[in-house]
């Protein structure tokens, strides 16, 4: 089957998936005890105010009607209005998305780059001190809670050593003109080198603590996959013909060892988004993870639905892309 047909099929299959996700999310969100009006108005809500507000927010309708109203406008790209901020949900998500993208992409880059490098190194120096310490560290990395790690990093690098800022995306009182919303890019486009360094400094700790778990996993998967490949005949042949060891490892072995690694990386991207919720809270990072936490706390139904739907959509898209990368990495893979 041609690749595009496979791609089309996958695309069509996303529709029922998204439909399912939307129903589950809708039900779950409405099942959390407590309603937005109580939380919004606290102790002083009177019955009259309450009814008026329920009607305004459409919360007085039966659940299936509420769902249908939400779903039909979601199809037109309208995810409703946030109860908390009165702003369109799509706008709320889009203004915070760049912050999350910047954080997760940098974290992923750290995880992939260091993860592969360390994994390959561990495989090459199998059973040496390097291998053992890398394995030890990756075990630690997988088990460490992001939240705790973030706190410890802040305490060490910001409070004790004073090298890095504690939280946020930029130093207070500074600003970067917005082109993409990605501060690393925007500061470069604007030619503000100082702001670029400032945003790197702010990004470092959240990205590292977010990357840790994924990095550790990538190390382990790369190592074991590399160990398999390195014992293949063609590697021995490459070595026998006198090829440089570095070339053998990085050109011959690594590409063939990448398939399981790519799978893990793809899955990690989704995991990073989940991790971003914790990281963004610890580091006051104004991304969609924090938007979601705040929205859940105040039962801002439209925002919770919007964010989860959005993330689910991104997750599905990433999966499709990962599948397509397989084909590139291993031309023997055919999609039936």
């Amino acid at each position: 089957m041609a690749l595009y047909k496979y791609f089309l099929k996958r695309l069509v299959l996303t529709i029922p998936t998204l439909l399912g996700v939307s129903i589950i999310v809708f039900l779950l969100v409405h099942m959390i005890p407590g309603d937005p009006i109580d939380i919004m108005l606290g102790d002083r809500v009177t019955e009259a105010v309450r009814l008026a507000l329920e009607e305004r927010l459409g919360l007085n309708e039966p659940l299936h009607i509420q769902y249908w109203q939400w779903f039909s406008s979601a199809l037109h790209g309208d995810f409703g209005i946030s109860i908390r901020s009165n702003q369109p949900v799509m706008e709320e998500i889009l203004t915070r998305l760049p912050a999350t993208i910047e954080l997760t992409v940098v974290a992923l880059m750290i995880a992939v780059f260091f993860g592969i490098y360390f994994g390959v190194s561990a495989a090459r120096y199998r059973n040496t001190l390097i291998d053992q310490s890398l394995i030890g560290f990756s075990l630690l990395g997988v088990s460490i809670p992001i939240f705790w790690l973030g706190m410890m990093l802040i305490y060490l690098f910001a409070v004790m050593l004073g090298w890095l800022p504690v939280s946020g995306r930029l130093s207070m009182g500074t600003a970067i003109p917005t082109y993409t919303g990605l501060y690393l890019l925007d500061s470069l486009i604007a030619g503000q080198i100082g702001s670029f360094i400032d945003s790197v400094r702010h990004l470092l700790m959240p990205a590292v603590s977010l990357a840790t778990v994924s990095l550790a996993l990538v190390v382990r998967v790369t190592r074991s996959s590399m160990l398999d490949v390195l014992s293949e005949d063609y590697i021995r042949t490459a070595r026998a013909k006198g090829m440089q060891e570095r070339k053998v490892v990085y050109t011959h072995a690594l590409k063939n060892a990448m398939i399981p690694v790519v799978t893990v990386i793809g899955l990690q991207l989704a995991k990073l988004m989940g991790g971003a919720i914790l990281t963004e809270t610890v580091f006051s990072w104004p991304g969609i993870g924090r938007l979601l936490v705040t929205a859940i706390n105040v039962r801002d139904y439209p925002v919770v639905q919007g964010v989860v739907f959005f993330v689910a959509f991104a997750f599905i898209a990433i999966n499709i892309i990962v599948d397509l990368i397989y084909a590139y990495l291993d031309p023997r893979i055919r999609y039936e």
Binding site: M40, V49, Y125, V159, S167, Q192, G194, R201, T281
Partner: protein
């Protein structure tokens, strides 16, 4: 193999070097580099005095008329002024935008003489029309700007909607407020943020967007609001009162409380709002930090259902008061950030009856009272509590567990029922409880507390004509001492009859760097940075 090992080591070294270069570049270095760009100016360079406060929540709106949450109230007290205000650190009333005021003979019409020469941040003049506008846009349904920016609740309407008949500009600088009836707490309510004055020109100009473009007469004007990140204010150069010493005031949102404290310890922010008891020791041991702690004008209490047996018997209610060791309950739940409550209102506000002796912890006495009431072997009951931390109590469930354990010593077998707040509150409102924990806070007037807790039978099905009469009398006079006498009497009855079980008042807290002067925390829990200097 050795060669490969070298590569690896070089790589690791290079990365750590890069990390330390970026890590060591502190703010000052950055400034030097960027100075050449000519475009951006970092604060340290310009000599601008910036004061940064970190807090847990952001605002929903910057319009004081529709402000309601902690995240908004702090800001309103900096953007806006009212006709009157609370005297520093007390809850007495003093002039602000009004120079003086007087009531008519019957107390129904109040005339305020306004300060002249006061400017709004947008350059327009503050005058009587602005006062009329600010009130009537919220209270008068036929006002062209009525409801604009409403987020669900207008606090002014809640507080004064029934009391105020009309607000009229009589002259450029004279305004009259006509009341429906004599209303004792009127002046106190006038000092609350929701009654502060907005610029009519700005409301007209921004319309729907006024909530993110606030314009008042306060010492700070609006600069920028980045949702969930920060609100920036600048000192208002034409402020009528004492001008701020700082140039810029930033309210940074840092949701995690540990991160908040570390922001302060590292000097990235100058002050933080609200700490948890667990952080108390760290703060006290840090010589660079100054803890601000004020007794809060709030109350954590247990509502009794007076129609549910056996709580219809006053002896049983008194037995509960003797059975619970409130002092140690408050110690373990609040850990130094709260005090035991004696009356159903906080001692921070006028009218508190300090002559009342709290019920002594005396399990034997409790058993006697239970036996007299016909329950020598005690009884079983449900003890309802909410799950979430609220401003008046951080750990409500722990409080309920201790309460339960004390009750068990006198034979009362209480079953703690924990619910999410909304469910819990509905349940107590529908009288499905025997004892249920609740709390109350803010407006510093006895009426705000006693009215709700003792009258109207709201959470307790308790009716007492004597109390109703006392309350009516207190409301029907502007005379402070007369009000006070009635409110004190109400507390005596409440204590004798055990209408509710007062438990504790939670302290409000803030922490500021040692070298900062003039940073205040008021008894309502608002942080005030109007007079900050360093």
């Amino acid at each position: 193999m050795r060669g490969q090992l070298k590569y690896f080591m070089v790589f690791v070294l290079a990365v750590s070097l890069l990390f330390s270069v970026i890590g060591c570049g502190n703010g000052a270095d950055t400034v030097d580099e960027t100075g050449e760009e000519g475009e951006e100016t970092l604060p340290e360079e310009s000599g601008e005095k910036i004061f940064i406060i970190a807090r847990g929540t952001d605002a929903k709106t910057l319009d004081c008329g529709y402000s309601y949450h902690e995240g908004e109230i702090d800001l309103a007290y900096h953007f806006y002024d009212g006709l009157v205000k609370f005297k520093d650190e007390t809850l007495e009333i003093e002039p602000a935008l009004a120079l003086d005021w007087s009531g008519s003979e019957d107390g129904l019409v109040w005339t305020f003489n306004l300060r002249e020469g006061v400017k709004f941040h947008d350059g327009t003049d503050f005058n009587a029309e602005a006062v009329e506008f600010s009130f009537m846009r919220i209270l008068d349904e036929s006002h062209p700007y009525y409801g604009l920016g409403d987020q669900g609740l207008a606090y002014m309407d809640w507080l004064l909607g029934d009391a105020i008949k009309e607000v009229r500009a009589v002259d450029d600088y004279v305004v009259e407020i006509e009341l429906n009836d004599v209303f004792g707490p009127f002046m106190t309510y006038m000092a609350i943020y929701s009654q502060y004055i907005v610029s009519p020109t700005a409301v007209a100009e921004y319309g729907e967007d006024y909530f993110k473009n606030p314009v008042g007469t306060g010492p700070f004007k609006f600069v920028e609001w980045k949702r969930d990140e920060y609100v920036t204010m600048a000192a208002f150069e034409d402020y009528w009162g004492e001008k701020p010493e700082i140039d810029t005031l930033i309210w940074k949102v840092v949701p995690d409380e540990s991160t908040r404290l570390m922001e302060l310890q590292s000097g990235n922010v100058h002050a933080i709002k609200s700490i948890s008891p667990a952080q108390l020791e760290t703060i006290q041991n840090d010589a660079n930090l100054k803890l601000l702690q004020v007794a809060g004008s709030n109350l954590f209490y247990a509502a009794i259902n007076h129609k549910a047996e056996p709580f219809d018997d006053v002896r049983v209610r008194q037995a509960v008061m003797h059975a619970v060791d409130f002092d140690s309950l408050v110690d373990s739940v609040y850990e130094g950030l709260g005090t035991r409550a004696i009356n159903p209102m906080p001692p921070t506000i006028f009218g508190f009856n300090d002559g009342i002796e709290p019920y002594a912890y005396d399990p034997e006495k409790a058993k006697e009272l239970l036996a007299e009431a016909g329950y020598p072997d005690g009884f079983t009951m449900d003890l309802h509590v909410f799950a979430e931390s609220r401003s008046y109590v951080g750990r409500p469930v722990d409080a309920a567990e201790i309460f339960k354990s004390d009750l068990s010593q006198v034979g009362i077998d209480a079953n703690v029922v924990v619910n999410e707040w909304g469910t819990h509150r509905d349940l107590v409102r529908n009288y499905e409880h025997s004892i249920g924990f609740l709390g109350w806070y803010d407006v510093p007037h006895p009426n705000n507390f006693l009215n709700l807790m003792l009258l109207r039978a709201v959470n307790n099905q308790y009716e007492n004509e004597e109390l109703n009469e006392l309350s009516d009398k207190a409301l029907a006079t502007f005379d402070r001492s007369e009000q006070e006498a009635h409110y004190r009497e109400m507390q005596v009855i409440s204590h004798r009859d055990v209408v509710v079980v007062p438990v504790a008042h939670s302290d409000y807290t803030a922490v500021v760097l040692k070298d900062i002067n003039g940073f205040e925390l008021d008894p309502l829990g608002n942080v005030i940075a109007r007079r900050v200097s360093f």
